[in-house]
């Protein structure tokens, strides 16, 4: 499983966030602990307040009790009970100025032994009669709710003697309990305002039960509150400080680490994409020493890489140039042609313009090469290339397509300008010093020109083919070696382009089965029995047959020899596979010289070799003079011969099959053209030359075939001269295969057809 990569900025953010969360958790834990401590302190405060309040209340009760005891033992108290004339003075002044009652919150009253209040008419809050409970106990104490005021009463008895046998009367101290309690010193924990005694109005409560009715609240501990405030402020300040520190840390982290790392990362990405950072960025030092070391190392590496990249680019350009340059002539090669032509066509789509395509082919270069050697031939090609380059315009490129074939395409040109360029090429070639090479015969170049105006760029892909046709025209005898397609090409060829036959040809090439093969018997001599059939192509088109004389010129003019041969071979394969041809009978197939070197044709022939056992196959090479790659062709023919193919040179005696090619090629059979066969038996010099030629070829070991035998005299003469085979209308016309297998017909049905 691939590990996911994280941005350092995300890691920093995650770290800061984690840190803040951790601090928040710690703060929360501290707050929780603080709250717990605060709760404990509050409980402690509550307990302390209870203890404090209890102590204060007990102290107040004790004080009141002590005051009662003091009053009970005070001489002047006894004085008032026996002589109460100045009782009010005693009650209102003496008890206070003497210190017997500490504050005005407490008042004292005396009761006669009859329990009646002394001076009852005076203004006071004491009961007029002493409660019975107070009389029974010497120091009875109770609390009472008197119109909302909690009063504490402390009773005391006054005796006239130490033995307490003589009761002079009773006394009562009344204290404003709440005020007196709040006046007690030392309250630190109890909230004074919250102290209350729950008593119903008029209800009396024994002092001993006071604490069951005493309610209170704890006063917030100032130290605790201050502690909490300090702690809260500290936590808040710490959090704010941490946040600020985190922000600054993040900024510093971003400035010191993230940005430099991003810069380094971007630089590395740019380096990977072949882009290099500018010198200004490289000159900025980094604050982090390790990063600075990385930066220096990276930029040193980048510098070295840049130099290496520059060197590689230079080498690459050289390689690119070399890969697109013809090593011999120095002009552009076929690869450069393919790329430039494809790019040029793309550019035309965006910027339409007039285009001319020029195709150059050295005339008789094979002869030169064979005559003067390959070294001279190479020099010839070099001089041709130099001359053509000089003749072309400054921005035009010359491509060597192969062998002695060159091409160029001219932009922004007219047919006339293209023709001028072609003429300039020939002029420079004419002026070239081929004689310095020891070549005495003239070296010329045929130039085919195809032109496409800007408004017909849809046909621009056809320019090479049209230029080839034009060049084919230019090579024809009588031409001035420059032909512009459409102007100089044959009318027939032009009409063929648009004729019924052209359409039929292209349809036949695209549709298997439309090419129909008629088989003409080849008889062995003497004996005149059929040993082979020559497959002759017809095109079935619109319920009719188009004969070779009609479509072969189109094939030649459109340079469709290979495509046509492939179609014929496929049809032969189908015919032989149908087994409608008598077994043991060989089949002769016509192949153009151009197709022999075509790999696809060779591959198909290798496949067809499986029929050799049933039908020995023979290949008739036509137009051998057009063979340019002799070495390759010879190799292929040797290969085919090893597979029991027999090789025949067709149309021997015409300009297309010169004697020289017979010598170079591995030919088994020579088929004499009808023009020579017709000379057989004549007594003139031509007849003798043909006769001698037949003898010479026979003596050389070639198997001879006489084509176009139409008369018995010719046949007899051929037989006499030693021709091994003969064919012609006299022996049998070409006929299609029967629709049924040979088993249903008598042998020789084909020849009879």
């Amino acid at each position: 499983m691939a590990l996911r990569s994280f941005s350092i900025q995300h890691i920093a953010l995650a770290f800061i966030t984690g840190l803040l969360i951790l601090v928040s958790l710690i703060g929360g834990f501290a707050a929780y602990q603080t709250r717990t401590v605060t709760g404990n302190l509050a409980q402690h405060n509550q307990d302390a307040a209870r203890a404090e309040l209890t102590s204060a209340a007990q102290r107040l009760l004790s004080q009141t009790k002590d005051q009662a005891a003091s009053l009970a033992n005070w001489d002047e108290t006894r004085q008032q009970l026996v002589m109460p004339e100045y009782y009010t003075h005693w009650r209102d002044q003496r008890v206070y100025e003497s210190g017997m009652l500490g504050s005005a919150l407490a008042r004292a009253a005396l009761y006669a032994p009859s329990a009646n209040l002394l001076a009852p008419g005076s203004k006071q809050d004491f009961p007029s009669r002493l409660p019975a409970d107070a009389r029974r106990g010497e120091a009875a104490a109770w609390l009472a709710n008197e119109a909302g005021t909690i009063a504490l009463y402390q009773a005391f008895a006054v005796y006239g003697d130490e033995r307490k046998q003589t009761l002079l009367g009773n006394g009562l101290i009344r204290v404003d309990f709440m005020s007196a309690l709040q006046g007690q010193q030392g309250f630190h924990f109890a909230d004074m305002a919250s102290i209350a005694v729950t008593l119903a109005p008029g209800e009396a409560l024994p002092a001993s039960e006071l604490f069951s009715r005493l309610s209170f609240g704890a006063r917030p501990d100032p130290d605790q509150v201050r502690f909490q405030e300090i702690l809260s402020r500290t936590l808040l300040a710490l959090f704010v400080l941490l946040v600020v520190a985190a922000v600054f840390g993040l900024i510093a982290y971003d400035r010191l680490l993230v940005r430099p790392l991003h810069r380094l990362s971007d630089d590395i990405d740019a380096m990977q994409q072949g882009r290099f950072s500018d010198a200004r960025a490289r000159s900025l030092p980094l604050r982090i020493a390790e990063l600075e070391n990385i930066r220096r190392s990276l930029y040193d590496y980048q510098f070295q890489l840049r130099e290496l990249h520059g060197s590689l680019e230079h080498q690459n350009r050289e390689f690119h140039s070399q890969a697109r340059q013809d090593a011999l002539t120095g002009c552009h090669n076929r690869r450069a042609y393919d790329e430039d032509w494809a790019r040029f066509r793309e550019e035309l789509k965006a910027a339409p313009q007039d285009v001319a395509f020029l195709l150059f082919d050295c005339d008789r270069f094979k002869t030169i090469n064979d005559t003067y050697g390959h070294a001279k031939g190479d020099r010839v090609l070099t001089l041709i290339a130099d001359a053509l380059v000089m003749a072309l315009r400054a921005n035009d490129r010359l491509y060597r397509l192969g062998g002695d074939e060159f091409a160029t395409f001219l932009a922004h040109t007219t047919p006339a300008q293209a023709r001028q360029v072609a003429q300039r090429c020939q002029s420079l070639l004419d002026a070239a010093s081929f004689k310095d090479l020891g070549i005495n015969e003239p070296v010329s170049v045929s130039i085919g020109i195809a032109y496409c105006p800007a408004d017909q760029l849809a046909h621009v892909d056809e320019l090479p083919k049209l230029a080839d046709i034009a060049m084919y025209t230019a090579k024809q005898p009588g031409r001035n070696r420059i032909a512009l397609y459409g102007e100089d090409t044959d009318h027939g060829a032009q009409t063929l382009v648009a004729s019924r036959e052209t359409s039929a040809l292209f349809q036949a090439l695209a549709t298997p089965g439309l090419i129909e093969l008629h088989y003409q018997p080849i008889h062995a001599l003497p004996g005149r029995h059929v040993t082979h059939y020559e497959a002759l192509a017809r095109i079935r088109y619109q319920d009719g047959l188009i004969m070779p004389g009609a479509f072969l010129p189109v094939v030649g003019s459109r340079r469709l020899e290979t495509e046509f041969d492939l179609a014929v071979l496929h049809q032969i394969d189908a015919d032989l596979s149908s087994q409608r041809l008598p077994a043991g009978k060989g089949v002769s197939v016509n192949l153009s010289a151009q197709s022999i070197s075509h790999p696809e044709v060779i591959s198909l022939l290798l496949e067809l070799s499986r029929h050799n056992a049933r039908h020995p196959l023979m290949l008739e090479i036509t137009e051998t003079s057009l063979i340019t790659q002799m070495v390759e062709v010879r190799t292929y023919l040797d290969l085919l011969r090893s597979l029991d193919y027999r090789i025949a040179m067709d149309d021997f005696g015409t300009g297309y099959s010169p004697l020289r090619y017979l010598v170079d090629l591995p030919v088994d059979i020579v088929k004499f053209d009808i023009s020579l066969v017709n000379k057989l038996g004549q007594s003139d010099r031509a007849g003798k030359v043909v006769t001698d030629f037949v003898h010479m070829m026979k003596n050389a070991g070639y198997v001879l075939v006489a084509e176009g035998v139409e008369t018995e005299a010719t046949l007899d003469e051929a037989e006499r001269l030693g021709f091994a085979h003969a064919q012609g209308y006299l022996l049998g016309r070409p006929a299609p295969l029967p629709q049924q297998t040979p088993a249903a017909h008598a042998p020789g049905a084909v020849s009879a057809a």
């Binding site: 001489d75 006894r78 004085q79 026996v82 002589m83 004339e85 005693w90 003497s98 006239g160 002079l168």
Partner: protein
Amino acid sequence: MRAFLLCLLLSALPASAHAAIVRLEMRPGIPASAEYLAGQPDKPAVLLLHGFLQTRTFATVATLARGLNDAGYSVLSPTLSLGIPNREKSLACEAVHTHSLDDDVAEIARWVVWLKSRGHRSIVLLGHSFGSMQLLAYLAGRPDGAVKAYIGTSLIEAQVGDTARGPLIAQLERQVRRRERALVNQPLSFCRNYLSPPEALLSYVRWDAARTLAALKQAPVSTRLIMGSADAMLGRNWIRSLEDLQTPMVVVQGANHFMDGEHEFDLLEHSLEFLARTR
């Protein structure tokens, strides 16, 4: 007069093995107490009276009582009730003083009678300060025949401070006549704020220096004064006036009003010396 002996309580002091507390109901509901120290029967009994608003436990009196008793004299030290049942503490100046000099003299007489009831036929009255004056007031009345002699220590009249005594007496008499009972706040003796009904106050105010000297001069028994030369509470010419009266008098040099400290022995010595000559 109904008198009764309440009880005799053994004193906590080892030297007072014969001490007893005597309680007499001076008026209805107002018992008073006295300490009785029994002495030799052949010696006169001493009725020792404390000073103004004090009790028998006052140091000068208590010490003198022990000294006299140690010398073989029976000593009765009463605490005047001053209108308070079983008064045991000195009475504050600011208290309501309903008692009068007549009440004091009556209580003295009761105690003289009590001594006689105890078989003492020769009684010497010995007072300190205001008590000396109160004993003179007793002697000025109809003293018991058993009273044979009088010793006045630090004798002082009823001082009224800066108040003019004449107008004061006149005002008080007027209030008495009018039966006004409102308390009067008047400096008396060492009290700056002595609160008392007019009639009771008047009984004391009348005993100015002249009346005191007269009572001394006219005392029906042999008298002896023991005064302190450093007594700051006395009037400016009081010693001289006493000397002019030619009353037997001993002036203890350096002694203050309370004759405390080393002068306690002088007081005892002079008292014993006088008692020794009394039968």
